[in-house]
Amino acid sequence: MIRFDQVTKRYDSGYEALHDLSFEIEAGEMVFVTGHSGAGKSTLLKLLALIERPTRGSVALAGQNLNQTRRRGIPRVRRGIGMVFQDHRLLMDRSVFENVAMPLLIAGLPREETAKRVRAALDKVGLLEREKAAPITLSGGEQQRVGIARAIVAKPPLLIADEPTGNLDPKLSTEIMELFAEFQQVGATVLVATHDLHLIRRMGKRVLVLDHGRLIDDFRPPVVGA
């Protein structure tokens, strides 16, 4: 599903955020990316979403070399990825419903099907009764869940999340991770960047550890309770 081949990313500032990174993720896997602050986790995810381009090496997604994707092809690639952002990136002048519906509007789904799918996604994150609310009236955790509903509503084959539990309490964090795991169970590939080692340990999924832009570990911890 995902294949990084000797990927190096040097920013315009000259800083090398990723160095000679190679790994592969199978379709349907759930993988955590961890490492210290500045290790390059966000950069890795940005390469997948074509927000940044690698300086050297290649990134392949679903068998397609992203290096060959032209600017015009970027929206198509992104429609295949559900993205959860640490700062939610909700559209503040639109309702919760409209926010979640946006990927379907972009994909050109008819209205009735859109409404059905949006309600299903909101139900899954427990916010069905808030569909008319403005995002600004929601708590941070609720906004994050709206963001997750928006990421999964179009049923993308790949879900990537950058610090999705950044400032949530442990209970809520666990619930959100279980949502991701559930999404994996129905066949999606899930990639989560996080600092939260406890959470990673509890989930018992594969972990990629970055250190100063290098891959220093790739392991699967034993499950410690659930």
Partner: protein
């Protein structure tokens, strides 16, 4: 109202999506496409309605810029109508020699009336001429000093329109009248007519150039307004692009905003023209009645008026398109 406790079963056990790996591909679904256009159409109206003052200002500036060439066009159209009326009349003023008596003058007039290229012949006797002169010139006191009437008999000949003849050419009739022994002087102001024609042609060109310049002005006004709107929505645009929105999708609401600005300013321009027509209506009616009501004021018709709306809407759309295409390309991440 939705406390954390109340939302306890936040994560529902999965009666889950069949085939999560089947992504929502952008289907070429005409209905959805139409729906998005309709959605953009109304949501963009709501968007500019949310800033009524800024919108009103923009629309007024654009409306004024559109009204100006319209008013000039209207003026020109009416002057052209008037001058056409004059040209149609093709009046030739024939001053007979002073020694020609009234009966001879009447005979001469009769001989002209039977000609095929003459429509009307009016006789103004010296007495009529003097009376007219007295009433109009304000010289009535000075005229009292005169012992005899110095004015000759005047024939006002209206030539019949000959479609094969160039309207600006001097009719052969004029030359024949000039060479007649009974005639002292023939006044046929061809040069004046030609000059008027040239002035009108120039006026037409001025209106065209002005309309072009002001259309450019409205494009710039729409463009600038939409540019500011795009800048203030940079975060939203970035998010939409991350969600996989195509350039067209992101651009669409801005195009509709441009369309609305154009349409509204077209209405403003029409209202301005209407107001000017009303304000000048009385004075114009007065002026025209002095021309024996031969000319009627021609207002802006339905077809030109709806054309104004179409053109203004197109200008708004195009101005927004120019700016949106440029700025959204620049703002695209990666």
């Amino acid at each position: 109202m939705n406390t954390r406790k109340a939302t306890a079963p936040r994560v529902k056990p999965a009666p889950v999506a069949r085939g999560a790996s089947r992504s929502a591909k952008p289907r070429l679904n005409m209905r959805a496409w139409r729906e998005h256009h309709a959605y953009s159409f109304f949501s963009s109206l709501a968007r500019i309605g949310a800033r009524p003052w800024a919108t009103a200002l923009t629309v007024l500036v654009m409306g004024l810029a559109l009204a100006l060439p319209l008013l000039l066009f209207l003026l020109l159209q009416n002057v052209q109508g008037l001058s056409a009326g004059w040209q149609e009349a093709r009046e030739i003023t024939v001053f007979l020699k002073p020694e020609i008596e009234a009966t001879a003058a009447t005979q001469f007039a009769e001989s002209l009336r039977v000609r095929s290229d003459v429509a009307i012949v009016k006789i103004r006797t010296p007495d009529e001429g003097l009376a007219e002169f007295r009433s109009q010139s304000g010289f009535s006191d000075a005229l009292k000093v005169l012992q005899a009437n110095p004015l000759p008999t005047v024939l006002v000949v209206t030539a019949r329109e000959n479609p094969r003849e160039n309207i600006n050419a001097t009719p052969a009739l004029v030359e024949q009248l000039k060479s007649d022994a009974k005639v002292d002087l023939v006044q046929y102001d061809a040069a004046w007519r030609q000059r008027l024609g040239a002035i009108l042609a120039l006026g037409e060109r001025v209106v065209q150039v002005l309309a072009g310049l002001l259309a450019l002005g409205t494009l710039l006004v729409v463009g600038n307004t939409v540019r500011l709107d795009i800048q203030s929505r940079a975060a939203e645009i970035g998010t939409l692009q991350l969600l996989g929105a195509s350039k067209g999708f992101v651009r669409r609401p801005f195009l509709y905003i441009g369309l609305w600005y154009g349409l509204l300013s077209g209405f403003v321009a029409l209202l301005l023209v209407l107001a000017v027509q009303l304000a000048l209506g009385d004075a114009l009616a007065h002026l025209l009645s002095s021309y024996d009501n031969r000319f009627a004021f021609s207002a802006l018709g339905w077809i030109p008026a709806s054309l104004v709306l179409v053109v203004s809407a197109a200008l708004g759309w195009f101005g927004a398109w120019l700016v949106a295409s440029r700025h959204l390309a620049q703002g695209q991440p990666a």
